[in-house]
Symmetry: C2
Subunit: 455 residues, 2 copies
């Protein structure tokens, strides 16, 4: 078992195969110092076995909880996707949820089985819809009346019957341990059940001969703990399944309850446990179906963050430190790393909180009130607003920030013309580059000198 | 003069050479419809003459207000930079402020005169410092004690005496019409005057024989209107110049007062007027210097947003629309465009507000409460939270969002694997691509298959 001599190492927030050995953090058996030396910093270190285990855990939990009624786990590509990661997902036997031509093309570049691809998006272009139909994706999750017409028309033109879901808003918005239940949701996505839009959309799809309605979809939020919000949404969707059965005299075969399962970002937190969530959800779904005398439909889910989020740790090198006197006689220690808001926009964007660990050594010094900041020319470029860190952390030290797998590299920018960091997969003491670091040449590749055109 | 038959066209928030002609928006004499057809959407349309005029206006205002005491305008590259834009800045005769190797390399690729380059950053790497010294930049703005040692050591190793500024915090934080004056600033940048750090930094630079202290620097905030904050900061810096003169028996030749001048984002707002700001600031600086019997130093400024922000308009194509019933019987119309938070993160990041104009036709229909959203799979992907727009805006229409020159393309991401939009320069009815649109191939260029390495 893991040996954790550093009192600051919090295993619950690092990827499963992270340990603090004699003197440094190791991830997937690879030394943090060695990784930084070999691949440079900032560096996204993805614990491959942890990724595979988490994807499998959701698949197993879905299948064992729902039995023959289990649909698919669709990995939400928006959280993080690369060709290599798409190959893992394909091997594990889960599906993928893409929401742009770009995400679809990454899946296709990995030879991802098209019959496990689900296409999302509130504003798919006609080109994106046509491509999805042409390659034969499993389903398109339709989001608006205009899109019903478009998918129907483009499927007809391609001579196919396209499987679709309808994205519905069930009046539930969830985040962390709270959820709001309203009649109407003020969001850009989907068809509202309460307003009657959802039913009209069902009728419109039924009338389109080139569309086959597979089922209903809802997605209630992100970073959610507990199943209460999911339970209410499921109940409202199942009410609609019953209405559908009563009206059309047959059942829709599937229900997609979306993603949003929460993960641990800070010590003391716990990521949602797939078996607990799925078994509780299965009990609700079965009871609701029984109430309406419905067969339990195939249930699919779309975890993204819950699979990739905890698997990745960002390694930064510390460049400068300074102590700033605050009004009131307090002092704050600023620790500046070699990345920042270009590789992790979430603190600035959502006020997200992170943990950091001195990764290259154990300090026996006391901790002090610290702020981890990046190297961008912006005051708001903060990685961690407030954290107790050993007072001797200084230039050349490595800081490891865990739980940076979801919405970090995928939302990364070139702000201040910083190259985006590499992503490496680590496993059993070996490391492989899967997304290379951008170079200075990459930053200049879009600059062009072209003749003027009269417009 | 411009003809504005569309009552929704608000010239104060569009670039100077924008007009609403008979039936559509034109920018730099180019038809919005023609630009969208030729270059696709989303598209950043940069009004080149407006850019040049604004850069020149700040230069002229600085020079006419400070006379022989005028230093340089340093364009803040972080707001937006490309090789072509760096060439314009070079031609106009202003300097450039860069804060990374990436920004420096873009300037160098444009053959930007190195003696007009100023290097910023709270955590410059040794490689960045060494490169700046090697190419012979005009000055390095030093931010920490560690950096004083590094620049001194690397300059000595290169056999040069490096001109430096010291970045100071003067206890002023300013934003829009408000500013806070405190003893201490809780920020990552610079040396605090109040704590004595600033003076110690001056002494450390004076002791380093490979450094020459050109002057003091402060930057008080962003999107600032009025000079009150600048005046207090200038006064505190000038106090320190006097202390320096008293102690070292000579004067520091320069003062850099940073940037942060506000621009108009919404109809009815007005961008800061360079002559007004510079003449008021000159009066303050001269009075403060007189008080201390100091010669007025050379004064430099660093506008970024104030030059490029108003010059650029984003053209989007509308893809889907829907009306959502809200609790309380109200309705909101959602208008989804083909970009979003990947090309404009500022609404999500700062709660920034924008205007949008139907660009391809005049609608005679009434307006309705609308929300302009993007195509990302995220509820927070909102371009404009609340705006009155003609109720008949629909798929295929073009929306023009003005004042998107600063911190838009420079902070753009590939979130949801969306290619980043092109930037085109328009002038006198002609358009030129200056940053090409990313392709699907670009999105896959960083995916690599490499052998494992033992770490």
């Amino acid at each position: 078992m893991a040996n954790h001599p550093d009192p600051h190492f919090a295993p619950e927030v690092f990827s499963a195969h992270s340990e603090f050995g004699a003197n440094e953090l190791t991830i997937g058996g690879c030394s943090a110092i060695g990784l930084a030396k070999e691949f440079g910093t900032p560096l996204f270190v993805l614990d491959e076995l942890d990724f595979r285990e988490r994807a499998l855990a959701w698949k197993s939990a879905l299948e064992s909880s729902f039995g023959s009624h289990a649909g698919s786990v669709f990995y939400a590509a928006k959280s993080f996707i690369s060709v290599e990661v798409a190959k893992w997902i394909a091997e594990i036997g889960v599906g993928i949820d893409v929401c742009s031509a770009g995400e679809l093309n990454i899946a296709l570049a990995a030879n991802f089985p098209v019959d496990r691809i689900e296409v999302h998006g509130n504003n798919k272009s006609e080109a994106e819809i046509a491509q999805a139909i042409a390659v034969g994706v499993r389903s398109i999750v339709v989001d608006s009346f205009q899109e019903i017409e478009r998918v129907a028309r483009l499927a007809a033109a391609a001579g196919v019957t396209q499987n679709v879901f309808l994205r519905l808003t069930a009046g539930i918005e969830a985040h962390t341990h709270e959820f709001i239940s309203t009649a109407h949701e003020d969001v850009k996505f989907g068809f509202s059940i309460a307003s009657g839009s959802a039913w009209k959309a069902i009728e419109a799809v039924e009338e389109a001969t080139s569309l086959r309605l597979l089922g209903l979809h809802s997605h209630i939020g992100s970073q959610i703990f507990g199943i209460e919000g999911f339970a209410i949404a499921a109940s409202r969707l199942i009410d609609l399944l019953a209405k559908y059965r009563d009206h059309f005299d047959r059942q829709l075969p599937e229900l997609d309850l979306g993603g949003g399962y929460g993960i641990a970002y800070l010590p003391g937190e716990e990521s949602e446990v797939p078996m607990r969530v799925m078994s509780e959800l299965a009990a609700v779904v079965k009871a609701e179906c029984e109430k309406h005398n419905l067969q339990v439909p195939h249930i699919s889910i779309e975890p993204g963050r819950a699979i990739v989020g905890p698997t990745t740790t960002t390694l930064y090198e510390v460049g400068t430190t300074k102590s700033v006197e605050l009004d009131g006689g307090l002092t704050r220690r600023y620790i500046a790393v070699d990345g920042g808001m270009s590789d992790n926009i979430r603190p600035a964007l959502y006020g997200a909180q992170y943990y950091a660990l001195l990764a290259n050594r154990i300090s026996s010094r006391p901790t002090t009130s610290s702020r981890v900041v990046g190297k961008h020319c912006e005051t708001g470029d903060i990685v961690i607003r407030e954290i107790e860190l050993p007072e001797d952390i200084g230039p050349g030290d490595l800081l490891a920030v865990p739980a940076t797998g979801a919405y970090h590299r995928s939302m990364a920018s070139n702000y201040n013309a910083l190259p985006r960091p590499a992503v490496i997969a680590v496993k059993n003491g070996k490391a492989r580059l899967i997304l290379r670091r951008e170079t200075q040449d990459d930053l200049l590749r879009l600059d062009v000198v072209e003749p003027e055109r009269s417009i």
